[in-house]
């Protein structure tokens, strides 16, 4: 297998935590911010200048479809990839080459299957059963269940090549496109790890939802699966190892099991690759050795259940979570929407509430629905299942809604553009 196509950038400090390369521009008013919002009923693009006070809202794009994720290329910000999906009509990949003004399905061209019938390239996610035979995985009741493709949860564009992008799918597997999402090939080593029969779906399905590319080591990729856990490759995706030591999950008969943990999200500062932060089903965790060992840093959080976690653009020890009451009550504690910030890499946390509703708020913040921009004062963004997208232009001290009444927000990504 050829190595992944992202290359080491000489100045890692110029990369945002989302893998975006910052433009050399210290004047906020000269920059532009583009927020990509995926919702249950379409995609929206929110844009503002560097002050982030006045917003232009465009959309809905792909109205009526679930937009699980959309993300721009750090190499070419006008290149945006979108996962458009439906339980009725299946999976579509859309692409924009002009910053979200127009879209097209790149694989709409002619292609024939081995049997001779026509297929749509970009909508084909076919497991590489020749390289890694399709096994079964554990079902909710503990029985074995066939591995079946359902949808793309997460798209992660390459750090070096606008034509290259990874896709995390349900049932869990990692795919790669080298031709701008025209066609997709599985990286079968992950599914072929051998522990597949012990992977099981979380409430949302057995999804590969997190892909983190290491900006300093192009052969290293982290992924996370609900509910299998976190995995890492150090050889460009050929082989993978579970990195779940230190995680404990009460729903497993062996709480220290190698796989089976419900990891909700992983964040990493590209300024300091190898230091990872994880929001697990319960517990906020930290690893200082690329996932080889984890330790809990929930500290004084009022509840350590949640989905979203992210890292400040310029302060690698400043992290953010959106605590949710419990796994059976997916809304904020006491009806108060709060983001919590730790400036010490965990354990000591402070509530950020200024501008957020502090009564009668019962929304959720999903795993891909928090992001940060790369401006000097680091804007923090998150979307809710109530359709609000909030911004804090000052690292979390003050919040305000950009929009209040979108469909339920599934994902939020931010592009900082010169």
């Amino acid at each position: 297998m050829s190595p992944p196509d992202q290359r080491v950038k000489p100045d890692a400090t110029a990369i945002t935590p989302r893998g975006e390369f910052r433009q050399v521009n210290r004047e906020p008013t000269m920059s532009k911010v583009r927020v990509l919002v995926g919702t249950r009923k379409g995609a929206f693009v929110l844009t503002a200048d560097g002050k982030r006070e006045k917003w232009d809202v465009s959309g809905p794009f792909f109205a009526g479809w679930e937009i699980y994720h959309m993300k721009g290329s750090p190499v070419n910000p006008d290149r945006i990839y979108v996962s458009q999906t439906s339980g009725w009509f299946g999976q579509i990949i859309q692409r924009s080459d002009d910053g979200g003004k127009t879209w097209h399905a790149p694989g709409g061209g002619q292609q024939k299957s081995p049997q001779g019938w026509p297929t749509g390239e970009s909508n084909r996610f076919v497991y590489d059963a020749a390289a890694a035979p399709l096994t079964t995985h554990q079902w909710y009741d503990g029985t074995q269940h066939p591995w079946e493709f359902k949808r793309v949860w997460h798209l992660e564009p390459s750090l070096a090549d606008a034509e290259a992008v990874y896709a995390g799918v349900e049932d869990a597997a990692l795919f790669h496109s080298k031709d701008g999402a025209h066609s997709w090939q599985e990286l079968p080593g992950l599914r072929g790890h051998g522990t597949g029969p012990n992977w099981q779906p979380g409430a949302g399905g057995m999804c590969l939802h997190t892909i983190v590319l290491d900006p300093k080591d192009p052969m290293r990729i982290y992924i996370a699966i609900s509910a299998a856990g976190a995995f890492r490759t150090d050889d460009g995706g050929t082989s993978w190892k579970p990195i779940n030591k230190g995680l404990r999950s009460q729903f497993l008969p062996d709480q220290d099991a190698e796989v089976g943990h419900c990891v909700h999200h992983i964040a990493m500062s590209p300024r300091r690759p190898g230091v990872l932060f994880m929001q697990k089903h319960w517990d906020v965790m930290r690893s200082d050795d690329a996932g080889d060992m984890w330790r809990e840093v929930s500290g004084n959080l009022p509840t350590d259940f949640g989905f979203a976690i992210d890292v400040h653009a310029h302060e690698p020890e400043t992290i953010y979570v959106a605590p949710i009451k419990s796994d059976s009550e997916h809304f904020p504690l006491d009806g108060k929407l709060q983001v919590w910030r730790s400036r010490s890499g965990g354990n000591e946390w402070e509530a950020l509430t200024n501008g957020l509703p502090q009564q009668n708020c019962y929304v959720n913040v999903l795993r891909d629905a928090m992001a940060v921009d790369g401006l000097d004062d680091c804007g923090i963004y998150f979307g809710t299942t109530g359709g609000q997208v909030y911004i804090s232009p000052d690292s979390g001290d003050h919040w305000k809604p950009i929009v209040r009444d979108l469909p339920a927000v599934l994902s939020v990504e931010v592009q900082t553009i010169a």
Binding site: W88, G90, I92, G108, T119, G120, N123, V126
Partner: protein, 124 residues
């Protein structure tokens, strides 16, 4: 071979995906079977491939139904000829999203056609 012009009605999501509004007209060679109609539809609108039938198995997606002439053709074999009223374009082949809204959409379409027929009078 004789070519026939058919009418296809699709749900909103597929119309927006194919960037069409209203009915789609397709040219299909005889014999007009369900499989040939879907092949022609996917050839004319490649982006629809995989949205109606699974790309690997060619099986109808579970939440879609095929209705024609007030009958359910969802479980018909691909090589089964469609009714002559569909083959000659008098009646559309309807691709309907099942369960949530599908039946209602079907009723709305029928209701609209019946109202239209009443407005111009029977047999016109």
């Amino acid at each position: 071979m004789t070519e026939r012009v058919l009418r296809i009605e699709m749900p909103h999501h597929l119309r927006t995906l194919a960037q069409v509004s209203g009915e789609v007209r397709l040219i299909v060679q005889e014999p007009v079977t369900l499989g040939r109609v879907l092949d022609a539809l996917e050839a004319q609108y490649p982006v629809l491939r995989g949205t109606i039938r699974d790309q690997e198995t060619r099986q109808r997606r579970a939440f879609l139904r095929f209705f024609a002439c007030s009958e359910d053709w969802s479980h018909a074999a691909p090589e089964t000829p469609l009714p002559e009223a569909v083959a000659d374009g008098r009646e559309p082949l309807m691709i309907v999203g099942a369960i949530a809204g599908g039946n209602q959409q079907f009723r709305r379409m029928r209701f609209a056609r019946e109202k239209s027929a009443q407005a111009v009078g029977p047999g016109s």
